[in-house]
Amino acid sequence: MSNKHGPIWVVAEQLDCRILDVSLQLAGKARCLADELGVDVEAVLMGDGVADRASELFAAGADRVYTVDAQELAVYQPEAYTEIITRLAKEKEPEIMLLGSSIMGRELAPLVAARLDTGLSAHCIDLVLDDNGILEQQIPAYGGLLSIICPERRPQMATVARGVFPKPDPDDGRSGEIVELAVPADLPGRIQTVEVVREETGGVDLDSASVVVAGGAGAGDREGWDEIAELAGLLNAGFGCTRPAVDEGWAELEAMIGQSGKMVNPEFYIGVGLSGEQQHMVGIMDARIMVAVNNDDKSPVFQQVDYGVVDDCRKFVPVLIEKIKEYREKMTTC
């Protein structure tokens, strides 16, 4: 292997011309990795009217931003986005390519990886360079942390969820080079995003909630689930869940916390009827105070929280709800 490394790439994502947090977080992380390798950070930014947003990427750590500004790129278009990134990557030979594990990233990353005949790891929770400058892409599994590497092929590709890395403090003094590119003219034209419809979401936003209540398989049934939901509502908390709750149809996929769901950083977390499985717990590791309610005193969840309650959640949660209400009444009357 040559010791001349290519740049580190971040595929930036924008929504209505605003660069997503995850892309800025990745630019910040890419900066740290690039300094270790002695290479540049480059971002690819596609959209309609995004060119002047490149400064945000510079402030987050990028040295160079490739912009592709065109009306037809306003929303994610799989063919054009894949083609632009693939062709540019073949020319610039990046060492590492990072994408957010947004829904776009989760579709685009494998499309690009397969075209470049390289490896891709999913939903990493950390990225570190080993002694040979190879990227260790860490994912939680089997009660530990797996390091995935892509030793030979390039780029080394990984997706990372929002919130895994901190958002860098913008360094507005930083600037860089903008390279404008055109949309390839020879796209096959077999697929088109006709429309993207966003719906107002009810309830508290999980991503930014300071209190998060999460429910798991232990809820038992819809009724048990609704009790946990009531607790979340009462605390004005974001309401998250584990995968079985999605499988049972109690909760939407968007509420799933963990490795393949959301990463959240609340001040206070209460996990109800969940076993503390790694893939869930990595999503809330940074919470300041964590509480678990589980009817099995040997549940591994109790090794990972600050306060533990051994009880049947079906009996415990309704009493808790009642006592919180009583506590609040007392506070308002005196």
């Binding site: 005949d117 891709l120 790891s121 797996l146 030793p151 006709v194 009880d311 609040r328």
Partner: protein, 265 residues
């Protein structure tokens, strides 16, 4: 006639909990002693095909790459109404990452013949990279839509489908042949019927090994995988738990106090 291929993966029963172990040598999954079931999302992929077949002439092929026991889940798909089953099984396929899996499946699909539509699950319950569908589509040079939650218009050569996007949906227009990965919102999978099981007795599962696919051995399995597991470390947990003791009322009272102190109430 619509030629549909459904990709189904045999996974350790998610209900059996997390007894999956990792081979300390090759650092790949050891799943031999686990009962295998159809990856839950792949049931929705099969259901999508079965529903189409109720509306128009269609031929459904099911393909799976996995250990020889995976034949049972292919048979289950036949009993549910698929027309033909294929199992790609060879020791050489073991240890494949998403890239090698997608490559091998794509070769299998090419050998089956012309197709109009491929359905995959959005993710597998044990690997859950979500990469296999889009990578396979790339190798087969067809467009892909991932996380499809509605097949809005399936008349003709151009389909319109709805797929997930954060807090909403995207409407996609796609020319066939194409690959779709599906979410559980797409449909409600049917249950096995007795008559289905009887009918499926006559249907056979075609098993292909490496040689049947005509693929070099270094393009499949662990050797054909760009990514490898380099190490498995244990995670340190720095929290010291304090268990709240006493009667239910006492525990509730303590927790209310913890919440009040944290400013949550």
């Amino acid at each position: 006639m619509l030629n549909i291929v459904v990709c189904v993966k045999a996974v350790p029963d998610p209900k059996e909990g997390c007894n999956i172990k990792i081979d300390p040598g090759t650092k790949t999954l050891l799943r031999c002693d686990m009962p295998l079931v159809i990856n839950p999302l792949d049931k929705h992929a099969l259901e999508a095909a079965l529903l189409l077949k109720e509306k128009e002439r269609a031929f459904i092929s099911v393909i799976s790459m996995g250990p020889s026991d995976a034949e049972n889940i292919v048979k289950e798909c036949l009993a549910l109404g698929a027309d033909k089953g294929y199992l790609l099984s060879d020791p050489g396929f073991g240890g494949a990452d998403a890239y090698a899996t997608a490559h091998t499946l794509a070769k299998g699909v090419e050998k089956i013949g012309a197709f109009d539509v491929i359905f995959c699950g959005m993710a597998s319950s044990d690997g859950a990279t979500e990469w296999v569908g889009p990578e396979m589509a790339t190798f087969l040079k067809v467009p892909v839509v991932s996380m499809v939650n509605e097949l809005s218009d399936t008349a003709g050569e151009w389909w319109t489908v709805k797929a997930d996007i954060e807090n909403g949906y995207r409407l996609m227009k796609v020319g066939l042949p194409a690959l779709f990965t599906v979410t559980r919102d797409l449909n409600a999978p049917r249950a096995l019927s007795f008559s289905g099981i009887i009918k499926a007795r006559k249907k056979e599962v075609t098993c292909w090994v490496l040689d049947d696919l005509g693929v070099p051995a270094d393009e499949v399995g662990l050797k054909g995988s760009p990514t490898i597991v380099s190490s498995l470390a244990s995670r340190e947990i720095s929290r010291q738990v304090q268990m709240l003791e006493g009667s239910r009322e006492e525990k509730v009272a303590q927790l209310v106090q913890v919440m009040a102190d944290a400013g949550v109430l």
